[in-house]
Amino acid sequence: MAAGVAAWLPFARAAAIGWMPVANLPMPVAPAGKNKRQDEMIILNVSGRRFETWRNTLDRYPDTLLGSSEKEFFYNEETKEYFFDRDPDVFRSVLNFYRTGKLHYPRYECISSYDEELAFFGIISEIIGDCCYEEYKDRKRENAERLMDDQEDNKDAKPPNMTCRETMWRAFENPHTSTMALVFYYVTGFFIAVSVITNVVETVPCGTSPNQKEVPCGERYTVAFFCMDTACVMIFTVEYLMRLFAAPSRYRFMRSVMSIIDVVAILPYYIGLVMTDNEDVSGAFVTLRVFRVFRIFKFSRHSQGLRILGYTLKSCASELGFLLFSLTMAIIIFATVMFYAEKGSSSSKFTSIPASFWYTIVTMTTLGYGDMVPKTIAGKIFGSICSLSGVLVIALPVPVIVSNFSRIYHQNQRADKRRAQKMQKARLARIRISKQGTSNAFLHSKRNGLFSEAPEFTQLPYKMNLSEQSSTEEDQRLNKSTSLLESQHHHLLHCLEKTTNHEFVDQQYYQQSYLEAGLQNYPSRSPSLSSRDGVSGTCCTRRSKKQHAPLQNASGPAHMQPLTQVHAHPRGLQELSTIHIQPLSTSRSSLNMRVDEPASLNCQSSQITTAIISIPTPPVTTSDGDAHLRAGPAHQNVVKVSAL
């Protein structure tokens, strides 16, 4: 329950008097407000700085350290204060959380120290208010990345007993680990450079020969170039095979970008060897030679900057896509306009719209070759608009790309945007689960039978000593698993149930009983019959043990029950090994037992799957652990019956 409204609980309870004259049933006893102390001040001494607050303020969140009895461990008898040896600055935020109900993250705080304080005081970080949550998450992500970087840097420490294969792989990935690796690294780099220069020089015209035409060097010194090419390809092939051998996961290695570049770099040579000097395929052969230029990409293993550029472009894919899209739109629009504007003029170069594309692109990128120029006035007007807008369209996405690059360059890593979205969903799911706790908490308490006992006690005057006798045991359990505030709230809800003579149930149970009510029209499947042979297997697997109890026949769909005798149930807090529907009984004890769904339900309809009954709460501190553990297995059984 939210902190602030805890202050209004007395009011809500007082207003319940409005239901009393209307109710037909007697009301349950109010929970014992024993040790009803006057609201007192608590002094919290955090490393010398004293904070004072009311006890009620801290009690608002009973599942945190300060709100539960865990703080008694820190109580100092002599000075009558609670002493915490923690950071007082962060404690301010923590205490403000109790006061205002909102947790804020101060920007000047270090994220990990803040996290530690939150963990110490038992507050989950998802509760941070929306005003500060983005900042918190960003800082946390940055910190995590930085830690990951640190870990990667420590990889140089060589673990002993590496196989030959692992040594080789390490040598390939981190060249500075050994001298051999360094040598290898430089040698390959040299040969890549040689290969690229060879390809370039091959096409340079090399002096005149006796014929009139100038001949490129490649054709003049064919043998020399061929030998050079062969040598480079040998080295590259050997390197590729060695990497393939050393890779821990060959399949993954073969799919990686670098290996594809390697393959593309050496393949043309082999294809060229295989192919004969055939006229038909010589065109294709020439094309293949183009791929030799991909060898230059092998440099990216040697250059960090190149890799970062690659990452940047990949991560800015959406901005680049937007740029491309808007450019395309603009090109088409302006090309069309220019074409129709220039249609009238004679000897116009704008022969078709695709022909105008060229003009538009050249103008928008402010190249302005001048090979196509508009001649009409309309054409010139639109042409000038085109060039002005071109500057804008191109200038807009560029700063985004630049800033991305600089960020990646500094951090050397980039969190996935999709992961952030998933985390946002996960956060909301976590908060929702912890909030569901409130509405489910009441149902849990009912099932655990933690209320003080039967309504007959309302006949007697409300002196608490009477209920104390029966409920001392209950009280201990009460204190362990629910706070006074919660028990008062549950009492309020219980009064409402009594007023209207209906009970709160959770969604799943409601659907079950709804289905059952529908099926009760078939006489052959009366619940009494089926519960008796319920032990036999049905198509739905049952995992809980069954207990038979006398079951009244349901004479019709559920309807409002008359007041029945209240019988104190012999077993107080029994284990919930069955689910047992008693349609007519309104005694609260019947809540503790539920019958298995009779065989009437076929598998399809009992997809009322695993319950939401389960996890009641926000972080469980140690003091609550026992009660929850006890509730746990009981709930398990409740859940499993309806699970397929």
Binding site: A7, P10, V22, D39, T458, E497, H502, F504
Partner: protein, 231 residues
């Protein structure tokens, strides 16, 4: 030759661009400048209400000084302006009943507390109401309950009023109840209520009938004492 189609279009575009440039310089203002004047009116900041002094409240209610202090602290925490309007009240009250819809009943409650009918509950109203509910005599409490049921405050509780109240109470239960709340449940409950309370069968319940019947019913008398020590 005359002006052709495209040229006309080009000239139109040029004129539009020219107007855009002028607008930029503020020389050429469009007609819509009159709509913006409303933005300049600042909304009146919410009025802060100070309650009467502690001594006066002590005279008017049956709470001790310390109790009043702690009540005010809780109240002020939730409503720093010192007044609760109906929407806030509904929100607060709904938080206690997560499964159902408590807004209608909260509306009736609000009217019961807001004695001077000005649309907001001040601390005095709050604390005087609480004083009746928690420290008042049984007759006073019954009076308060009757006042709650009597929606139009005419001294008679009719079946329609009672039905409205009953429906709002059943609304708070929500959908997931056992047994399911049927549509006739509130009216059946109202009929039972009237059978019990309406002695002279005139279709309305007066305050005297109400108090008389309640005083004879042990359940009700006992449950009235239920919340004595809430504060």
């Amino acid at each position: 030759m005359g002006i052709q189609g495209m040229e006309l279009f080009a000239i139109a575009v040029v004129i539009i661009l020219f107007m855009a440039v002028l607008k930029q310089f503020g020389i050429f203002e469009p007609m819509s400048s009159f709509e913006e004047s409303s933005d300049s009116d600042l909304e009146l900041s919410t009025v802060r209400h100070q309650p009467e002094g502690l001594d006066q409240l002590q005279l008017q209610t049956k709470f001790t000084r310390k109790e009043l202090q702690s009540l005010y602290r809780g109240f002020k925490n939730e409503c720093p302006s010192g007044m609760v309007d109906e929407e806030t009240f509904k929100t607060i009250y709904s938080q206690f009943f997560p499964q159902g819809d408590a807004t209608t009943y909260a509306h009736f409650l609000f009217n019961a507390f807001d004695m001077d009918r000005n649309g907001s509950i001040r601390f005095e109203d709050f604390v005087i109401g609480l004083s009746v509910l928690l420290r008042g005599s049984v007759t006073e409490k019954l009076n308060w309950a009757f006042n709650l049921y009597d929606i139009n405050k005419d001294g008679y509780v009719t079946k329609e009023e009672m039905l409205a109240i009953m429906t709002s109470i059943y609304d708070m239960m929500g959908r997931y109840t056992y047994p399911c709340v049927r549509d006739e449940a509130p009216s059946e409950h109202v009929d039972k209520f009237f059978q019990k309370m309406d002695k002279n069968r005139d279709g309305v319940v007066t305050i005297e009938e109400f108090i008389e019947t309640c005083q004879k019913d042990e359940n009700i008398m006992n449950s009235m004492q239920l919340f004595e020590n809430v504060i």
